[in-house]
Symmetry: C2
Subunit: 425 residues, 2 copies
């Protein structure tokens, strides 16, 4: 049945941006491709914060991997957990099986880093998976419900305080969305408090928000956040997190008593920690556990193994490549091209990141963008953000539905996914 | 602030169809209304099977109760678990509080009944809540993924067998949708088996499907199901359920060895068990635990307490009223009207069920309907089904999105919510 059985076998672990685009780029290559992921869906992570803030439904940004690769005759999709790698025997160890490979592309990504305080995770969930997003949505919506039933003013205030750790794109977008929910969406839904009094505190140890942006745009983003009522606390290091809030050590008073922010909801969008699979590769790694790859994205000593996406510490033109979707896509495609070149007896080229720019949104009609060196802030940047995200979203249905949801939210100020799912199931 | 504080207090427990429409009907009444629900959302249960079969996202059919009643000045919504009722002191006991009432409307509904075998529930989940639907969706989608990885033909066959217990509307609609997924949606997504070989077995102890329908329509629905490849096993009683399948005792061979249907996925859509809150009312109850209400829907001896919806055993014109959405809505409105009449010094009227008919769908372009005594089967019934469900769905956004999803699914044969959520969270 399978006429491609004798072709070289490319195993791709992880169907995020890097893995998926690697698989697609091998569409016409004389190989057979197996994509292994522990999830059945590819997740469009740049919009995950909108699932967390009840603006989108999870299926709007999650597409079955199987469906995406349905027409790619040389690709098979396996829903399985990878237990380990054996680069010497060229084997991928699954929970109940093994896969042998001729080429391996590892694209299992990274998660947040609690800087040695993993016990904070239960108080301050991160935002990497659909389940994370639904958990954050649950906590946010429940906080308002608890505030409605709370008669003690101080405790009510704690329920209405949201602390977000990490002022990169995810943190900034979460903060903006939470203030918008408070200001508009829920404005007339409660009787015992005014949701507009909701406090959103955005915290980062670095001195500015969106550090990957040009500084003038960081300043504009900060001003937009503050205009929307977000308290921006940069230069503040989190020294403790518990069920009642966060404690901060703010420069230059780093020897003073930590400042306490009582907040019943703390969200974590900081740090980078590579997926543990990197350890099996016996390759040099950076401080975050990411694999330091060769210029062609392969692993030193294993030209048949590539590491791409957030799991890789990649340099291009002497500068580190950011851990976002566009480089992940380019890296995935590059690894695929390297395999094709190898099979054709051509030389592999070094990876070169084509930096088209960065984009973030702060709220309705507010964003910052630096595209091909041009800088935008405000309405135009917001429109660009919408356009780029709709364009890159996978599937026509998702594009139409997300556009509809955005238009509906824009005109009605409502968010359509205000559903609290209980945890016990 | 609250100018209605001295008005009589109506507490409504449960914001399903009965409770929600009771609250809405009290919109202009000289009362203050408190709606208590342990969920933040009203669920449009007639479409829940579509969430379970990946056709719709949960938020499409779940609307925040708070949002629905936002403009109703005399209504407050509380997200709280009701622990008990004290009809003598006129108190509703919440987890951490008490509510006193002048009128009480209990509308907490019913769940499935495992006929004394609650241990079957873990093998055969029911379909009453959003979480139930997501769990069923997870099991169904995972079954196909497991079949893809299974090399043993017999075990693969077990993964591809779905047994549905209960051939009422929910069971019939689930069975039809599962065959459709197998036949069309997944047809070209797998490499190691043909999804079209999926076996769907619909089981009921009663001799016909859709027993609440006129018999000719039941026969037509059965024929449509069978034409779509569903194995209909009526007259068969389930005598055992475990992780490997179900055992049936089929009439007339009720003394024979039970017949075994190996199936890794068993879904439960049978039986009625009243919510436990009914026990606190000290009122006569039927065999399913439902409260036998007075003709005005109040509880014997407590004219200020009403029971409506699936929790009530209601008769109208000497016949039992079915446990579906239309009577629940009418009962909720009737209880509201009785309260208004009471406050105005008028006599309460007995409840009279206006039976407009019944509707069910078997799959694309296939349904059965009996409306105002007119009977339809096939395409027209299916159109009527779509029309009625879109009309009654709450919220313009939901109507538009669900219509879009249906149109998209109709033309592409795809289902947009094929997302497996993991359970550990």
């Amino acid at each position: 049945m399978n006429t491609t059985a004798d072709r070289p076998h490319v195993v791709i672990i992880g169907a995020g941006f890097a893995g998926l685009y690697a698989a697609r780029a091998l569409c016409r290559a004389p190989v057979r491709v197996t994509v292994v992921d522990r999830r059945n869906h590819h997740l469009f992570q740049p919009l995950l914060y909108q699932v967390a803030t009840a603006g989108l439904s999870a299926p709007d940004i999650a597409t079955p991997i199987r469906r995406i690769l349905q027409r790619q005759a040389n690709a098979t999709v396996l829903l399985a957990e990878v237990r380990g790698l054996d680069p010497v025997r060229r084997r991928v160890v699954l929970d109940d099986d093994e896969l042998s490979y001729d080429f391996l592309i590892v694209a299992t990504g990274a998660t947040h880093n609690y800087f040695g305080h993993d016990e904070w995770a239960r108080y301050a969930p991160g935002l990497k998976t659909v389940e994370d997003a639904l958990e954050i949505r649950r906590r946010v919506l429940l906080a308002f419900e608890k505030a409605e039933r709370e008669t003690n003013a101080e405790r009510q205030r704690e329920h209405l305080t949201f602390a977000i750790v990490g002022a990169g794109a995810t943190g900034v977008e979460l903060a903006g969305a939470l203030r918008e929910i408070a200001q508009h969406t829920l404005a007339s839904d409660f009787h015992n408090f005014d949701p507009r009094a909701t406090r959103v505190v955005l915290i980062d140890a670095v001195e500015r928000v969106l550090p990957q942006f040009p500084e003038p745009l960081s300043l504009k983003a900060r001003a937009m956040l503050e205009a929307r009522g977000v308290e921006v606390r940069t230069g503040c290091r989190v020294v403790d997190v518990d069920s009642g809030g966060v404690s901060l050590q703010c420069a230059p008073s780093s020897e003073a008593t930590p400042e306490r922010i009582p907040a019943r909801t703390v969200l974590w969008a900081a740090g980078v920690k590579a997926s543990p699979l990197a350890e099996d590769l016996d390759a040099p790694r950076d401080e975050f556990g990411r694999v330091r790859v060769q210029p062609d994205l392969s692993v030193p000593g294993h030209p048949e193994v590539f590491v791409v996406g957030d799991l890789a510490a990649v340099e291009s033109g002497g500068r580190p490549v950011p851990a976002t979707a566009p480089p992940a896509i380019q890296e995935g495609r590059h690894a695929a091209a390297a395999i094709v070149a190898e099979l054709a007896g051509r030389t592999r080229l070094p990876f070169r990141y084509k930096d088209r720019g960065v984009l973030a949104t702060v709220g309705r009609r507010a964003g910052v963008a630096s595209i091909y060196g041009l800088r935008f802030a405000g309405f135009v940047a917001w429109l660009l953000w919408l356009l780029v995200h709709i364009t890159w979203l996978i599937g026509h249905r998702n594009r139409l539905v997300v556009l509809f949801e955005w238009a509906w939210a824009y005109f009605t100020y409502q968010r359509s996914a205000r559903v609290i799912l209980s945890r016990e199931k």
